[in-house]
């Protein structure tokens, strides 16, 4: 079997890097190059990541004392709401798809760009408009509904700027939809000759599955937030119980989006991990077909489990059982992925570079997050722990331990490709280990206090939980260090890092066949693909160089 083949022109004819296509601000703000749009997204979501992080930093400090330190109830509520809204919609949902998806998806399938480059740019501008609404919300004093916007609290009783916040999320939703449409169309229409569906890298499959969820779930969220805003603004009764409005209708609509949204956050992460494990274990991903089917079945079954957020909300107990069952069903493909990643390591030549450490961190944390998901899928346990710190810990294990770890794995894996520079691996590995430890210190105690009955979103709390909160806050400090550290060494790498060649990791995949950083049109000539992905391991030529 042969490697992925690329017909290469002589080096002299290669265009300059996409970064040198113009250095003015205007050249960036009007670009339709998917790589530059990926960078624009990366900068925007990084800013929001630190705003959202600062908000929760204050919350964690406040929780050092059972009766609070320096915030009022109202301020506390607004801070955790802000943290939720920003982290979910302005970091996690766009994180991997809009940055690495944008940058890599066309390159991985051998295309020059995404299918609709101008739509792609528009999606970033929609993100900016949505972000502006959110910034306005913050400046105007925030919002106090929790990121879930439950009615009738959000429509009739909340004091905050609900409409501005909802408008931000509404607009940023259309940015997701535009991105999703673009990725699906690109994957269908612009694959290079020979790039069949079964030769797609798993990252492409993951982004594809994510995009399907994005275009089908996001509009439902948009509609439910629109209805909340209309009711709040015009006093038109849609959810108002005084007019006979159903208090659960909003929750059904909201979770119909927001549960699949969890998969929007985790599926791309799974794609990243498959790429990184294969590269650093020098092995084909174990069970490619099973991996593809599990991605797609998670995406599909993910639409049918929203009711497990509502076991105590007042829906029928029989509905609870059905949703419970489906939640166990959706856990099966996730478990299979974990086993397949582990099996990928078997018989490999494993190198523990920084991306691999981040990916292994993902594996551990995602496993714990997934296993605690089984607790929550079991109705009797969920009744006790829902709306407690147990749930908080669970979804942070999936979204932060999972998605954010994978985001950092991707960042370190593709950094040389994106910037053309190498970073100091020692510091990166230090960062990966700090992140893993800090994360566990922050969130493991939350499982314990959650099961003991500490409700979430509590400003003041019974004193017996203080010890757990103190450990958790200490962990947050470690976590903050781990998040700020990459800013320093990656910033250093931009200025002083060694130049990266085409393929510093000796990885398989079309994106590694072109220059680092790639030229505007990605490839010197449209590549022709003759074999499946991950040509490592037993079938590959022995690697001449060390990674």
């Amino acid at each position: 079997m042969t490697d992925i083949t690329v017909d290469r022109l002589p080096e002299t004819k290669i265009g300059e890097s996409y970064l040198d296509e113009g250095h003015s601000l205007a050249s960036w703000l009007t670009t339709t190059d998917h790589k530059r749009i990926g960078i624009l997204y990366a900068l925007s979501i990084t800013a929001f990541f630190f705003i959202g992080g600062a908000a929760i930093g204050l919350v964690r400090l406040e929780l050092l004392e059972p009766h609070g330190l320096f915030l009022t109830d109202e301020e506390y509520n607004r801070l955790f709401t802000l943290h939720g809204i920003i982290m979910v919609w302005f970091f996690l949902v766009p994180s991997i798809p809009t940055t690495f998806g944008n940058f890599l998806l066309p390159m991985m399938i051998g295309a020059k760009d995404v299918a609709f480059p101008r739509l792609n740019l528009m999606s970033w501008y929609l993100f900016v408009i949505g972000a502006t609404f959110t910034i306005i919300t913050i400046i105007a004093g925030g919002v106090d509904t929790g990121w879930t916007f439950y009615t009738p609290l959000s429509t009739l009783y909340a004091n905050g700027n609900v409409i501005a916040a909802a408008a931000g999320v509404f607009v940023v939703g259309f940015s997701s939809i535009a991105t999703g449409i673009n990725f699906i169309a690109t994957t269908h229409m612009l694959r290079a000759p020979g790039m069949t569906w079964t030769r797609l890298p798993l990252f492409v499959w993951a982004i594809y599955a994510t995009s399907v969820v994005m275009i089908l779930a996001t509009p439902v969220l948009a509609m439910s937030l629109l209805l909340v805003s209309v009711e709040r603004w015009f006093g038109v009764p849609i959810f108002n119980p005084n007019n006979g409005g159903d208090p659960l209708l909003f929750q059904h609509l909201f979770w119909f989006y927001s549960h699949p949204a969890v998969y929007i956050m985790i599926l791309p992460a799974m794609g990243v991990i498959s790429e990184v494990f294969a590269c650093f274990a020098r092995r084909k991903v174990f069970g490619y077909t099973a991996m593809v089917y599990s991605l797609m079945s998670i995406a599909v079954i993910g639409f049918m489990v929203w009711g497990h957020h509502m076991f105590v909300a007042g829906q029928s107990p029989y509905a609870n059982l059905v949703f419970s069952f489906l939640s166990f069903v959706v856990a099966v493909p996730s478990a299979i992925k974990v086993f397949n990643w582990v099996a990928t390591l078997y018989g490999g030549q494993i190198v523990f570079k920084a991306p691999m450490l981040y990916a292994m961190g993902f594996l551990g944390l995602f496993t714990v997050g997934g296993l605690t998901g089984l607790f929550l899928a079991s109705v009797p346990i969920d009744i006790h722990v829902t709306d407690t710190y147990f749930v908080v810990a669970h979804f942070h294990f999936i979204m932060v331990g999972g998605s954010v770890s994978a985001f950092f794995a991707a960042l370190h894996f593709w950094w040389p490709k994106i910037t053309g520079r190498l970073y100091p691996d020692y510091w990166a590995r230090f960062g990966a280990i700090t992140m893993f430890l800090g994360f566990n210190a922050t969130f493991l105690p939350q499982f314990v206090m959650g099961y003991e009955g500490m409700p979430r979103r509590y400003h003041v709390y019974p004193e017996q939980f203080q010890v757990y909160h103190v450990i958790s806050t200490a962990g947050t400090v470690l976590l903050a260090v781990a998040y700020i550290l990459p800013l320093l060494y990656l910033g250093w790498s931009l200025l002083y890092g060694n130049r990266a060649d085409r393929n510093p990791w000796h990885a398989a995949g079309l994106e590694w066949e072109t220059l680092s950083p790639p030229p505007k049109e990605n490839f010197e000539r449209t590549p022709t693909v003759t074999s499946g992905p991950y040509s490592y391991g037993e079938d590959a030529e022995p690697q001449a160089h060390t990674a």
């Binding site: 439950y150 119980p241 208090p247 419970s324 166990f328 030549q349 551990g364 714990v368 509590y458």
Partner: protein, 319 residues
């Protein structure tokens, strides 16, 4: 006494939940341990340039491994589902003879009414070794009644009744929390549930009892709101008789048969035209906006007393 405990023996259900929880903890530790062990073993054995031999697995074996763990996980998960669901189903509905305590939640307090009319704020007294049912509604936003020691929780919704029941076996004072974010002072919407032995509870109800029980207050309302004008024994208007209504089946004009429970009575007061009793005209006006949730609680208590008065005077006197 520490009201939060990692293991609870306050009720049989709490013990069941804990048992299931620790079963899952065990399974999780096993699986996570397996994954960690494999990662560590593979990581060491197959580190780059290690001497361990790398033999390729035959394709056949690969498929068997894949199918093997797909079926193993599926089987394990369905087993957990079955175990959990069995626990859930057995505790689904409260026994018929449960003691009803009415709860009205509002920003940011819990308002409880004992069957004999005792009103409590942020506190619920209840007897042990007796099934107790909380009949709950909210005046404003969604709240959630959370009794961690009993391992139970139920959202409290505006505009409808939700129920929570327990049969405690250990007396003591435990936390009562609001678990659904409900606005500014959400974290202060807390209180306690006092579980007492039956004699203690009887003594407590006697010392605290107001002059008029809940049903008596409801009867007063029933007259002052004019309900008795149509539903009373001498009414000129043709309206359904409300004696022996609660808990019995009602034939509706559209052919449905419903049981007259709290939700039905509440709907009939607020949306009288929704469920018309067979053989009657839709004459009754809606009392939405006229009666408060507390009033509805009193009216329903009165209607309940009409259906049980020949057997037992009031539920509170059953003790």
């Amino acid at each position: 006494m520490n009201p939060f405990r990692f293991v609870s023996d306050v009720s049989h259900e709490a013990i069941v939940v804990d048992r299931l929880f620790f079963l899952l903890v065990g399974i999780s530790v096993l699986i996570a341990g397996l994954v960690t062990a494999l990662v560590v073993i593979f990581g060491v054995r197959y580190r780059k340039d290690s001497p361990a031999p790398r033999r390729a697995l035959p394709q056949m074996l690969k498929n068997e491994v894949e199918i093997g763990w797909i079926s193993a996980t599926a089987f394990l998960f369905f087993f957990i589902f079955w175990w959990a669901a069995a626990g859930e189903l057995s505790a689904l509905t409260a026994p018929k003879n449960a003691l009803d305590i009415h709860i009205v939640a509002k920003q940011w307090m819990w308002h409880a009414q004992q069957p004999n009319g005792i009103r409590e704020i942020n506190e619920i007294h209840a007897p042990i070794n007796t099934p107790v049912r909380l009949v709950m509604t909210s005046q404003d936003v969604i709240h959630s009644m959370f009794l961690p020691a009993l391992r139970i929780k139920q959202d409290v919704l505006p505009g409808r009744y939700t129920y929570l029941w327990f049969n405690a076996q250990k007396a003591g004072t435990y936390h009562l929390l609001c678990a659904e974010f409900c606005g500014t002072e959400h974290s202060r919407m807390t209180g306690r549930i006092v579980l007492m032995t039956q004699p203690e509870y009887s003594r407590w109800t006697e010392t605290e009892a107001p002059t008029h029980g809940l049903a008596a207050q409801g009867e007063t309302l029933f007259r002052s709101l004019g309900c008795s004008g149509c539903h009373g024994p001498n009414a000129s208007v043709h309206a359904p008789d409300l004696d022996h209504l609660y808990g019995h089946r009602v034939q509706l004009s559209d052919g449905r048969v419903v049981t007259a429970d709290e939700a039905y009575l509440r709907d009939s007061i607020l949306q009288p035209r929704r469920d018309i009793v067979a053989g009657y005209k839709p004459l009754m006006p809606s009392f939405r906006g006229i009666v408060s949730e507390d009033d509805i609680v009193r009216l329903i208590a009165y209607l309940k007393s009409l259906s049980t008065k020949n057997v037992l005077n009031q539920q509170g006197e059953r003790q």
